[in-house]
């Protein structure tokens, strides 16, 4: 098998692990604010190897997450594509910034990401369900994702250095 194909397999494997984290690993009591590992992993790979991870991966894993979490089909996918694009567009600036700055940027990104899911797309009025409790939940979700980012970053960096061959 060629190196580039092997690399893809390792990257996909890590994203599959991220999806299983999101769906099964953490207890349901923390369900509303547990970090979204699939997106964190996707951001890392976009930042580290932007030539190997792109729109297709964002679309595919977004749709898988939509199907498995009961969200409107395409909602995770569109958000993943947008975030992937932002990451790739600004990855030169992002990858050289200190880890705490990266975490801060991700905090805002995840906060906005969570707000999108509060739109009641099924209702005729297209109401927003954002209220103070949801803002707090979004804040904690974004904070937990930002806190987890350094851990994800260093684990995936180790994984990349070990498994990905050029």
């Amino acid at each position: 098998m060629r190196n580039s194909r092997k690399n893809k397999v390792w990257i996909y494997l890590s994203l599959i692990v991220a999806i299983s984290f999101d769906l099964f690993l953490l207890p349901d009591s923390v369900i509303s604010w547990k970090p979204l590992f699939t997106l964190l992993f996707l951001i890392y790979w976009n930042m580290a190897l932007p030539d190997k991870v792109g729109i297709f991966e964002a679309l595919f894993f977004g749709v898988v997450l939509d199907l498995s979490t009961g969200t409107v089909l395409g909602l995770h996918a569109v958000m993943f594509v947008l975030i992937t694009y932002i990451c790739q567009r600004f990855f030169y600036q992002f990858r050289v910034s200190p880890i705490w700055q990266q975490a801060t940027i991700l905090f805002f990104l995840f906060f906005v990401f969570k707000q999108v899911f509060a739109f009641d797309l099924y209702s005729l009025q297209k109401d927003s369900l954002i209220d103070s409790s949801y803002m707090l939940t979004s804040f904690i979700f974004a904070l937990s994702s930002a806190f987890v980012w350094p851990l994800v970053f260093f684990i995936l960096r180790g994984y990349r250095r070990k498994q990905i061959r050029y």
Binding site: L67, V72, Y166
Partner: protein, 284 residues
């Protein structure tokens, strides 16, 4: 690193790492594709035909995550001493005797009061119609949470079958896969349950507002005499949910000036996050 993947310096023959960004045209195309998916799902519910089967595809992942826990459990079981086990059997036998005594007492009481017993039987549902199902996963989606239950492939569960827990109504079956069933919870923003209040006996429709949030009784006229603390039961009007299952409790009643309806907040009687087993009611 392949030469075609990165620009390579002609001086040092090392990668400059100048990777072109995603082509905006592709991004726009992907976004349009996603929007088509979203609109078709909202308008025609296109995903409902294959959504449940996607859980079957994810089953190996679930088993993979469960594997370490199962292995650790079996190791603990293996090393627990014989004495420990015999003590446990003894205590369970004691408990069984107690339970038998209690059951006998209840049987005596119910035989003494046949009229009450028959009334009870008519109000509740036949035990044969219940099917126990274990939780498979609960999605981390606050507004459209979906609970996935493991079911046997031989079970004759159908769409819209109600799902209950010991504390009340949980939701209804939304989709059925090969070995799982997806449940739309009563907390889902798309869920509407016809209810009746316990003391005032008023009818209403209860709309979900998301997991961990209060539900809301819809279109309640300002003259309605709901009381705070009242328990709400399913009224059985839509013929989806059986009559008489507990749904929740009225938490607050507000009278907004700018609306012609009362704002009635309801706390749901159960949350699927801290339960592992559920009952599926099949009336077929």
């Amino acid at each position: 690193m392949l030469r075609r993947e990165h620009k390579v310096s002609n001086i040092s023959s090392e990668a400059i790492f100048a990777i072109p960004a995603m082509k905006p045209g592709r991004v726009v195309l992907a976004i349009v594709f996603c929007l088509v998916l979203i609109l078709s799902d909202i308008r025609y519910e296109t995903s409902k035909h294959f959504r449940s089967y996607s859980h079957d595809l994810l089953k190996p992942l679930y088993l993979l995550v469960e594997l370490p826990f199962q292995v650790s459990d079996s190791i603990v079981d293996f090393f627990s001493s014989r004495e420990e086990l015999s003590n446990r059997v003894m205590s369970l036998e004691d408990e069984l005797i107690k339970l038998k005594t209690i059951t006998q007492y209840i049987e005596n009481m119910s035989s003494d009061n046949t009229e009450l017993n028959s009334l009870w039987d008519s109000a509740k549902f036949s035990k044969d119609n219940y099917l126990i199902a274990e939780k498979y996963s609960l999605s981390p989606n606050i507004f459209q949470p979906s609970l996935v239950l493991k079911i046997s492939t031989q079970s004759n569960i159908q769409k819209n079958d109600p799902v209950l827990a010991e504390t009340g109504l949980v939701g209804r079956i939304k989709g059925i896969g090969y070995g799982n069933a997806e449940v739309m919870l009563v907390q889902d923003v798309r869920s509407i349950v016809p209810v009746v209040s316990e003391t005032s006996q008023l009818q209403g429709t209860l709309k979900g507002n998301g997991l961990g949030r209060y539900g809301e009784l819809q279109y309640v006229k300002k003259t309605a005499s709901f009381k705070e603390g009242e328990t709400l039961y399913t009224s059985g009007l839509a013929e989806i949910f059986p009559k008489g299952a507990i749904v929740g409790r009225i938490i607050s009643i507000n009278n907004p000036i700018d609306s012609e309806f009362l704002e009635v907040k309801v706390e749901f009687s159960q949350s699927p996050s801290n339960k592992n087993f559920f009952l599926i009611y099949n009336d077929a």
